[in-house]
């Protein structure tokens, strides 16, 4: 198969270039570490640079492909390869952009964060491999590849969370993450097997074709669909398979938390979008008629419950990082609106909203966690009180954190404002008033707890015991870049929203 990119005819697998870049980078990291005379002595700078450049390259390439229209309606249409096991289209490229940007930020921040730690090369390699898995998830077009990619991203993540293997928190987080993950993947794969039982196919399109609107084994299929849904709920940290998230994010090294809560979540969502919209549209009643398996309503329920669980639990947290973890759960609930309100006549509008939210979320949430990483570096403690009066010592970082938090809360200081209102508009457009109401209530609550951090940083007096001595450059750079990106995404929202909309519309 041959596709055309920017005027050049190239083999179709070239469209997977972003993923390939990530793979190459991870191998390069391994290589560098291997050729080092003494194990573990490779330069942190070199490793971080390779990882950052690699993921940045993936980000740029994906962005380029997105801009020139690869895999999109206006040029070639979706590029399907390996017998339809993988597909490159606007949707996949869009999410690779998200994953690439988050990975780059995380890698950049990790340079300072990891300074002096052992097993640096392994860390970077695992990050890159997980990123590879995530970027492939965006392209996975069959239940088989989906599962494989998902595991490819999950397994390094477990290890990454346990990176501080002498730290009880890190280990405990990893254990819970792993155990919940293992249970979830069994549920997922069992669900896949049931879907296979009902349809005899694994490739998404083929499944849909085979099932039609009135599948033969509706009961089996129903169980399968619900279990698959929950399997993805794990990946996106949605209720009820979210239990790992607060602990994993809290215990993990902060850059890893950032990585998981932003990139991993996005990858989970893209897979869910693609699966449910290309494999189960008709059984879900999207093509009209009564649904055989009413997964849309199930998603609506999950979305509402996820919002409430995440935000209400976040509201009274004592630790900032754990609050961010719960808020991450809450945001999963917001993004689920993309699927929950999908029955609207103009579904691209709704799904596009979710995608844009994930994109913005990639920057603002990553930034917030990286700020926590910064605070961990400073050793000022983890609770809200520990942040008191921080703005007097680190105004720039605090300003950046304020941008992240307000953008997360949906105030017009960053792209999060438009993306959240876009979601709210989507609920109105779909006529799902309950979702809209839930979004409003939770958004208000989230504003409350986000501003607790802001309050601590700006309103409270410092207790005078904390002296910040170091200003780690790369961590600062990552935070500031994320902040700038978050802010710029407000005026520049329009540069990306058509891509999201088109990519979303392309799925139907």
């Amino acid at each position: 198969m041959v596709v055309e990119i920017g005027g050049f005819a190239v083999a179709d697998w070239v469209t997977l270039a972003p993923t390939l870049v990530l793979v190459a980078a991870s191998l390069l990291v391994f290589l560098i570490d291997t050729v080092e005379p003494r194990p573990g002595s490779s330069s942190n700078a070199v490793l971080a640079a390779v990882t950052t450049v690699g993921s940045l390259l993936a980000f740029l390439v994906a962005g380029y492909l997105l801009v020139v229209g690869v895999g999109q309606e206006r040029v070639t249409g979706p590029v399907s390869m390996f017998n339809g096991q993988l597909v490159v289209d606007g949707m996949s490229l869009f999410f690779v952009v998200i994953v690439g940007s988050v990975t780059a930020l995380v890698a950049l921040a990790s340079y300072d964060y990891l300074a002096g730690e052992a097993y640096q090369a392994e860390y970077y390699a695992l990050v890159l491999l997980a990123a590879t898995g995530m970027s492939l998830m965006a392209s996975a077009n069959s239940l088989a590849t989906a599962f494989v990619c998902l595991e490819l991203s999950s397994l390094p993540s477990y290890a990454l969370v346990a990176f501080y293997k002498d730290n009880r928190g890190s280990v405990e987080a990893s254990l819970k993450y792993f155990l919940v993950g293992a249970l979830s993947s069994s549920v997922l794969v069992y669900g896949i097997s049931l879907v296979y039982a009902a349809s005899g196919r694994l490739q998404f399109g083929a499944v849909a074709e085979q099932l039609g609107a009135r599948p033969e084994f509706a009961g089996v299929l129903g169980v399968g669909v619900v279990m698959v849904l929950l399997g993805f709920a794990f990946k996106t940290a949605s209720v009820p398979f979210h239990f790992w998230a607060p602990e994993a994010y809290e215990g993990a090294p902060a850059p890893v938390s950032a990585f998981l809560s932003s990139a991993s979540k996005a990858a989970g969502f893209v897979l869910a979008f693609r699966l449910f919209l290309t494999a189960f549209p008709e059984v879900g009643g999207l093509a009209g008629g009564d649904p055989a398996v009413d997964w849309v309503v199930a998603v609506q329920v999950l979305a509402v419950v996820t919002m409430f669980v995440g935000n209400f639990a976040a509201a009274t947290q004592e630790k900032v990082k754990r609050m961010l973890a719960y808020s991450s759960v809450g945001h999963a609930g917001y993004v689920l609106i993309g699927l929950a309100a999908i029955s609207a006549p103009d579904s691209g509008f709704v799904l596009g909203a979710s995608m844009m939210h994930l994109l913005v979320y990639g920057f603002m949430n990553t930034g917030a966690f990286l700020f926590v990483a910064l605070a961990e570096q400073w050793g000022i403690g983890r609770t809200f009180q520990d942040f008191n009066g921080l703005s007097t010592q680190a105004p720039l970082a605090c300003a950046a954190m304020t941008v992240f938090l307000f953008s997360l809360a949906g105030l017009p200081i960053g792209g999060g404002f438009i993306s959240k209102l876009y979601l709210l508009a989507a609920t109105a457009k779909a006529g799902t008033w309950l979702l809209g109401a839930a979004l409003i209530v939770n958004s208000a609550l989230s504003l409350y707890y986000y501003s607790r951090v802001v309050k601590a940083m700006w309103f409270e007096e410092p207790d005078g015991t904390v002296e910040i001595e170091s200003y780690p450059t790369s961590l600062y750079a990552a935070v500031v870049i994320a902040a700038v990106a978050t802010v710029v995404l407000l005026p520049a929202f329009g540069l990306l929203s058509p891509s999201a909309f088109n990519a979303a519309s392309g799925l139907f």
Partner: protein, 101 residues
């Protein structure tokens, strides 16, 4: 005589439930891992059985992937159990509960 596919479904459901039961009742990390293996294998039963039912090999091939991934998962899992033991001097998963609420 071919066994009806429904029976395979029942079998796999039973195996899955056994695995689930193990997860719910046992707090030993290794037993936990084993139970997960059972659940994965329940899926494999389905895959293989319905591969036969539909006369395509997709399911069988996928079950190979599943097994490989299960192995990888266990490898990671064992590693985590190791550090768990190192930090908590126990492999009881309910003991590691410092982070909550």
């Amino acid at each position: 005589m071919a066994i009806l596919s429904e029976f395979y479904l029942l079998l796999s459901a039973a195996v899955f439930s056994i695995g689930l039961y193990g997860i719910l009742t046992r707090s030993n990390a290794l037993v936990f891992l084993m139970s997960v293996e059972l659940m994965l294998n329940a899926a494999n039963i389905n895959l293989v059985a319905f591969s036969f039912h539909y006369g395509n090999v997709t399911g069988q091939v996928f079950s190979l992937f599943t097994m490989a991934l299960a192995a990888a998962e266990v490898a990671i899992g064992i590693g985590i159990v190791l550090v768990l033991y190192r930090n908590f001097e126990d492999i009881d998963v309910t003991k590691a509960a410092t982070m909550r609420w």
